[in-house]
Amino acid sequence: MLRRMDAAQALADLTEISSQVVHVAIVDGEGTVLATTIADAGRAERFVQGVATMLEEAENLRQTRGLPGLSQLEAATLEGSVFVVRRESDSGPRIIAATTRPDPTVGLVFYDLKHCLRSIETATPANGTPRRTRKKAGDAA
C-alpha cells in the first residue's frame, strides 16, 4: 500500500527519482497550485495557466477526433516535452504537469507522474480535512 504524504513531499520524491523531469506542478480541479518546483511564484502561476490552456486545447482536439475522455498528454518539442496527467480523486480532480529534457522515456515519465499523484490523492478526503489515524498506546514513545 502507498504511503500517504502531502503534495510537497510527493514532489520532492518525484524529482529525486526521475532524472528526466525538469519542473513539475501539481494543481487541483480549481487551478490552485498544491506544489511546484518552480521557485518564482509569478512564473509558476504562468506555467499553471499555460497548462490549463493546453488542457482546453487538447480537450477540443479530443472532441474533434472523437476520442473518449482525456486522461493524459505529451506535447514533444525540440527543446523538451510537456507531460500532463489528470486523475480523479476523493477530493476532486488533480492535475500534474511536468517539463522534461528532449526525447524523454515517455512511459517512465508517465509512470512517475501517476505514482506521484497516487501517493497524495488519498491524503486529503472529500471534506478537505486530512485523515488522521489514532495512535496506539504503544506508539506514544
Binding site: G50, M54, L73, T77, S81
Partner: protein, 67 residues
Amino acid sequence: MPRRFLTAMMLAAGSLAGSVLYRRRAARRLERVDLYADDGSMASIAAGSPDAERLVTLARELVVLAR
C-alpha cells in the same frame, strides 16, 4: 581544375541540402502531440498539422518558462 572545383562544390551543396532535409524530417518526427484517452487509446498528431500546432507552440512556451 575548374571541373574538380565544380564537383567539390556540387558535393558540398548536396551534403548541405541532404543534412537540412534530414534535420527537418527528424524535427517533424520529434515534435508532436500524443493524446491518451481513458480507455487506453492514443492519438498522435504530428507538428505541422493545424490541429497540433497550437499545442506544440504552447508546449514550447512552457518548456522555456520552466527552465
